[in-house]
Symmetry: C2
Subunit: 295 residues, 2 copies
Amino acid sequence: MTPLENRLRETADRITVAIDALLPRAQGPEARLISAMRYAALAGGKRLRPFLTLETGRVFDADETALLRTAVAIECIHTYSLVHDDLPCMDDDDLRRGQPTVHVEYDEATAVLAGDALLTIAFEILADPATHPDPQMRCKLIAGLAKASGAQGMVGGQAIDMAGAGDEGDLIAVTRMNRMKTGALISFAVDAGALIGVASEEDRHALARYGHDIGLAFQLADDLLDLRGNVTEMGKAAQKDQDAGKANFVTILGPEAAEARVRLLAAQAKGHLGAFGPRGRILAEVVDFVLDRRH
Amino acid sequence: MTPLENRLRETADRITVAIDALLPRAQGPEARLISAMRYAALAGGKRLRPFLTLETGRVFDADETALLRTAVAIECIHTYSLVHDDLPCMDDDDLRRGQPTVHVEYDEATAVLAGDALLTIAFEILADPATHPDPQMRCKLIAGLAKASGAQGMVGGQAIDMAGAGDEGDLIAVTRMNRMKTGALISFAVDAGALIGVASEEDRHALARYGHDIGLAFQLADDLLDLRGNVTEMGKAAQKDQDAGKANFVTILGPEAAEARVRLLAAQAKGHLGAFGPRGRILAEVVDFVLDRRH
């Protein structure tokens, strides 16, 4: 493993431990619901969003507890979105992170409710004084997370995707959809670290551009993976977009142009980190990880 | 119409106007999602929870804008829970507030996502400085709403209900389930008014007991209505519990004992308002409205 891969792994483990501590225990008559929440949230995954929050905050020597709890809240939102997206009425997926999806392992009603409860607890975690002593900061994080994940962010993007907008191969429409569906939460993961680190306006803007570019690069890499990957490597169904006749970056641009675009976005993303010097090294390295993922 | 009915109607209209103003406009490629959110949230209903927040706050001369925006957030949570509860994988209802449910009028995926977006915007509204100038207050409201509506509140209660807990006729189990499923949010609606009104600890406790009793009375009245009502009067399917062989207060206690219990809870609820004198009059009157509902 490279040093970055080690660091990613260590962070992922810390996040899993923190989620375990912050979700309620599965007991009482609601044990099955809580068990489903824990099943979804503790299954692992790359924990890319939490990593971005932690590493962005560390650029500014931000408080680790605030970063960690905020990263957990963001990962709860990401996890709930996967649970709902996997439902039969949405993408109808049986496999996620290499294990049966929540509605397969439990049942559909439990999957809907476990998603709702994960969404809700994200805001409960952020509102807690344990996250940050300043309530103004907690409100900023809550407002930012809600905006990034709501009707004009992640949920809106998923709705557009479900409705098949951009299926006529319109690059602008597909870009906008992806900005909402995956980009908004990735951008917020970066911004949350900058907020908690009390970054200057200038630094926040540079990081916003970094978050924008890494978000799009991530989705392009995902679309390339969808074209080339297989179920065993990905831990989820592959070539879904191809099979469904859905437009994505790769079907529109073709694989070569899509790869060129990933490389361009990656270079751009790193360029935005220039002002941070060596403090921005980990954020720069994670760009290559996103670009070169086989997972 | 009685003066109370007039006041309920006026408040319901104000809430609907406020929801209309606080939800995004249906435009852009996500228009269908936003349209479904608005369809669900603007359909009307009694707006009992917002009424409780507003009238509790008025006991303490609380700021009307803070009360109104908080009431809207609570109603967004209530509305999302109805949208998700109506889904085919849950209660599978076609009719709600006299009109087709969201998954019937739109589609299942849109209903799941519109619910998610309504849940999310509730916290966005509360985190906004426009709700209250003190971020500490906003965080308290967010924490309270999340706790009341999450895995150990409303969502947990719905999960227990879906799993059929208490179906062996256990009154304690059914009471606990209802405390979580409907009681917790009704209690928070009262508590939010007390919080914004900066009520004394003593007054908050009295109101908590009021909220507890009115919440249970409400559910008992609902179960009685389920037994006796019909689709036209209720605007939703009737006798669902009977048909499904599900235990509720009426199937366990029988209709007479259930009615006696509603009367007892109502008297108790009013008793908790004693310290407020004439300022508690509206909150006392609304108990009778809940007790005697045919709607």
